[in-house]
């Protein structure tokens, strides 16, 4: 193909083609990665698999009094979101703080076991438990009428790159659930 040219030039041309091919592939992969994927809308009351958890969002409501052993000052409000959670892994885990992320707040929730108001206990493999996520509403702010929460999942890696141990990594968005916000703890559960 390059019979007439010197071996040095041949090497330069081949190297150039290789570089451009690598750049093109990298660019195309990056472009596909940044494409906006449509957000999956999940229904309340339906089981969702997130990887380490099977979750079923049940209800959202506001409270103006303390709930599940959490104190609340007079005039303060909080949004309570309840979901049934089942640990799908083989080890007791409390890896659930970032599973639900509501829009408009970066706050970490208080997570309570509804059964007996234990603060953030580890959940046992295969035993479904109803958990309440509680976010305080800033004083003066009006709680939203619709509660939109992002459901995050993780993937299992047999060995992570840093320590070489198995675990759940790479948190990613699975979809969002929107539900009407009820008033008080008598709000009924969402039906699928």
């Amino acid at each position: 193909m390059f019979g007439g040219v010197g071996s040095k030039l041949k090497a330069w041309i081949l190297g150039g083609i290789g570089t451009f091919a690598a750049l093109a592939v990298g660019g195309a992969l990056g472009a596909f990665d940044t494409l906006e994927k449509p957000v999956v809308v999940l229904g309340p009351g339906q089981p969702i698999e997130t990887g380490p958890w099977k979750v079923k969002p049940l209800r959202a409501y506001t409270v103006d009094k303390g709930i599940y052993g959490l104190p609340l000052k007079a005039g303060e409000k909080a949004i309570v979101f309840e979901a049934e959670m089942t640990n799908r892994t083989a080890l007791s885990s409390k890896n659930y703080f970032t599973t639900f992320q509501p829009g408009g707040t970066e706050d970490k929730p208080f997570v309570v076991l509804v059964r007996d108001a234990t603060m953030s206990p580890a959940l046992q493999p295969g035993l479904p438990e109803r958990m309440a996520y509680v976010w305080a509403v800033p004083t003066g702010a009006v709680p939203p009428e619709r509660f939109v929460v992002a459901v995050n999942g993780k993937i299992h890696k047999q060995r992570d790159n840093l320590y070489g141990v198995p675990g759940w990594y790479n948190e990613h968005l699975i979809g969002t659930v929107a539900m009407t916000v009820g008033v008080g703890p008598d709000t009924p559960d969402a039906k699928p």
């Binding site: 083989a90 080890l91 007996d116 046992q124 438990e129 070489g164």
Partner: protein, 192 residues
């Protein structure tokens, strides 16, 4: 021609050899894992820092204990397994901090935090010559009661340290799916 074939054969053998070495190499997590000290329910297991002998295992539907002067009833979606064991430090003061119930399917249940304030729970400090007793409480699936293994170690993550692994033997299931001899309520009293 012969030379080419021989070269190719050597190349393929080298690939196979490298692949075999890569797949059979023990990984970092295995190399630095705990060192098991095996035993059965009837005998004493010696680890580097402590000796442990399981006294008995009781299954219960609910637990009752006093927390901050108030009586607390702990329910569960599975079954409670209460393991009492005798402990002794070998020659220095030692800590015993972590206990795990590993079922026949490999599901691992850490000692329940919901009952961690009851008397006799881990972590426990041991001194040589002073016998001690612990009562570990697990919340498990009834199907994980049979042929379970109890893992006890000095720290929650104990790389390169010994870990007691005690086979708890066969447990038959009743007609209602609960382990044989499950009591209705077990009281986590001050003495045991």
């Amino acid at each position: 021609m012969m030379r080419r074939v021989a070269n190719l054969a050597v190349f393929l053998i080298a690939i196979l050899l490298c692949y075999g070495m890569q797949t059979t190499k023990p990984h970092y997590a295995d190399l630095t894992g705990p060192i098991p000290a095996y035993g059965a329910i009837s005998n004493t297991v010696h680890t580097r820092t402590f000796d442990i002998g399981v006294d008995k295992v009781v299954f219960a539907r609910t637990l009752k204990f006093d927390q901050f002067g108030k009586q607390k009833l702990l329910t569960t979606g599975g079954v409670w397994a209460i393991v009492t064991a005798n402990l002794a430090a070998t020659k220095d003061s030692a800590m015993v901090a972590a206990a795990t119930w590993r079922g026949p399917d490999g599901l691992s249940y850490r000692a329940s935090e919901r009952a961690s304030l009851a008397t006799g729970g881990l972590p426990m400090a041991l001194d040589p010559g002073v016998p001690a007793k612990t009562r570990m409480v697990f919340e498990i699936l009834p199907s994980q009661a049979d042929e379970a293994m109890l893992l006890v170690s000095g720290k929650l993550f104990a790389p390169l340290d010994s870990e007691a692994r005690i086979a708890l033997g066969p447990v038959a299931l009743q007609a209602d799916g609960m382990p044989e001899g499950t009591v209705e309520t077990y009281e986590l009293g001050k003495t045991f």
